[in-house]
């Protein structure tokens, strides 16, 4: 299966990209940042190529489906969305530590996909209820949302350690932009998920743990959006909330599968 080969190459490129950004953050060497960005784009290209190849291979196997339906495939897609978002905003917000954290998260997602026994990389047929276009849109929107929140998480971590007012303001702007981006996509993800559930299971909402956790995540970010309108709400509080939000994302994604059981146990 060539797609997994290309995807492991992408993993390595992301790893080096993360390393470059870390060196840039620690030693303040701009050239490493540029190399890191170049590698990020290269990794994204390989990642995307692997994704497309996997899609093609599934057709050759007679299964024919977009690769978005198990843990392995969703992690691969998470990395595509994260790398894409960061490449797009890099010009405007080239903050080394944020880049380092984001690329590390992308690298970890890919490495986990490649190495963990729970993330099976075989292309398998879909069980009937998962054969739906709504599911495709659902996964894409959710993972764009999660990727936005991952960048916001990186910015929030840095906000906690930054005392410089100007830098903090810039980070805050990045944080807010990523949160609204993520919030829009998470909302669309929850909505398309509900529409899909309605068409497949006959109920748009059944409080299964994964659904409930995505709603919890949504509430956390809704709190952040509204907290901005309250007097004397501090930037660091918002940063903390955004970190809590990303923990909720992680729990929705991993925790529910390993700790709780439910409908979504496939991914």
């Amino acid at each position: 299966m060539e797609n997994t080969l290309i995807l492991s190459v992408a993993t390595f490129i992301y790893g080096f990209s993360a390393l470059c950004f870390i060196i840039e953050s620690v030693f303040n060497k701009k050239q490493f940042g540029q190399l890191g960005f170049f590698l990020l784009v290269a990794g994204l290209s390989a990642n995307f190529a692997g994704f497309v190849l996997r899609w093609i291979e599934s057709y050759q196997m007679g299964i024919g489906r977009i690769p978005l339906s198990n843990l392995y495939e969703s992690l691969v897609f998470f990395s595509i969305s994260g790398a894409l978002i960061y490449s797009v905003i890099y010009k405007k917000f080239s903050i080394p530590v944020v880049a380092a954290i984001t690329t590390t998260l992308i690298f970890l997602a890919m490495a986990y996909a490649g190495l963990s026994p729970t993330a099976d990389s075989a292309i398998t047929p879909l069980i009937p209820a998962l054969r739906s276009n709504w599911l495709t849109v659902h996964v894409i929107t959710c993972f764009f949302g999660y990727a936005g929140f991952a960048v916001s998480f990186a910015a929030s971590v840095l906000i906690l350690f930054t005392s410089n007012e100007i830098k903090c303001k810039n980070l805050d702007e990045l944080n807010y932009k990523m949160i609204i981006f993520g919030f829009l996509f998470l909302s669309l993800g929850i909505i398309t998920g509900a529409v899909w559930a309605d068409s497949a299971w006959g109920r748009y909402w059944s409080w299964d743990p994964k659904e409930t956790w995505s709603l919890i995540t949504w509430f956390v970010y809704a709190i952040i959006l509204h907290a901005r309108y309250m007097k004397n709400f501090k930037r660091k509080t918002i940063a903390w909330l955004s970190i809590v939000g990303f923990m909720a994302v992680l729990f929705t994604y991993f925790g529910v599968n390993f700790v709780l059981a439910g409908l979504h146990s496939y991914a």
Binding site: T124, S132, L184, S187, S199, G202, R203, T212, M230
Partner: protein, 459 residues
Amino acid sequence: MNTNKRPGIIEIAGIKLWDFFASLKLTIFLFSFIALASVAGTFLPDRIGIMKYLQDKPVFLVKVFDKMELFDIYYSWWFVLLIIVLGINLLCCSFERLPGVLKIVLKKPLPPSIHKIETFEFKKDFTINKNIDQVKELSKKFLKLKRMKTYMLDSKTNFSCAGDKGRYTRLGVYIAHLGFLFLIAGGVAGTMAGFSGVIDIPENETSSIVTLFKNRGKIDLGFDVTCAKFEIVKYENSHTPKSYQSEIIFNKEKENESNGLVKVNSPLKFSGIKFIQSGYGRVVEGKVKISVFDIMTDEKKGEYQIEQGETIVLPDGKTKFTLFSFRPNFQISGMNLGETFIGFILADNREIPVALPVSTPGFDKHRKGDFYIVPDEFKTKYYTSLQVNKDPGVYIVYSGFLLLSLGIFVSFFTRHSCFYIVVESMENNSSNVFCASNSNKNKSLNQEILSDFHEFLEK
């Protein structure tokens, strides 16, 4: 009651109450509380599970939890109440703020005075070597380029104009909030007036009884549902099912007979009730042939043709056996026995459950009775498992989805921006330009548009 002596207190209480419900603090509190309750709900076991675990003898703490409906949080009265209060909070917040926003949305911007320009945060003034008419034309062009609607005021020596775009986008937040209200309303309506359950119908059989989820009992649909045929489509060269479907007839041989196909991902509706293909299985059709053997000699002592639910007397003349049910995949202490019949032996007034797996004929020897029983011959057929839902709130919820998506998009990614220009005619064909820019978000862009304008005039 206009003679009330102390209207002050009631009024103050009213205002306080309104402020309470119109406050964002309440919103954040409710969001947090509902989120935490939801977290608890995903970790606490459900009611059926815990009662089974405790064998219907709940300890004190479990009784208290049960009284607080903690084993069914999402449908508990207090959770629903919190959500309704969230809705009220949202309504009050909107009514509190909407008039102010509508004032801005409905009012065209006024061409400003120089005085007014100075009050803005983002402003710029400069002198330029063009006469006032040239500057006027260029200003109009610039605002048109920025897709702004222009409102102007003219005199010989002075020219003032205001341009704006996206005034209505200020309503985006209210559209999102209205969408959320729809979700609450639709959800509550669905919970109050709908139901959800499952109906299993073997091929060529008819039923009208739905078993509701969460042990909420059974209901009669009031019409008949017949499964005419059930089919599984497999992936090529594989045993994995690709899809499955049931041919359904409603009210067979009655005047309002109606039929259709229920497929995975493609439900069927009849009289406001939705039928969804959710599973399938096999049931026994007709009689089952069983043989009874002596445990010591392995000698066949008898052969019976019985139906499920039927009781027979074994060859010793006193032990009774009841064939209870058929399970396609019977699990016992983690082991899957496959197709298995379940029954009861009644001996010496004691009821003993027995499992009779089809693939392991001697399995019943482990019971160490005088006889062991082996299922011999039987026929099976498919039954279809349909989820049955009635949800009168679903259209409200879908409208909510649309409004919510639209509202979030508009409130995040569009903005209302205004641009103000005042020009004074000077000697030598030059002009003094004062301009200001304002917007409700992305304020840093205001500086850019001011520089853009300056450059545009210089060209």
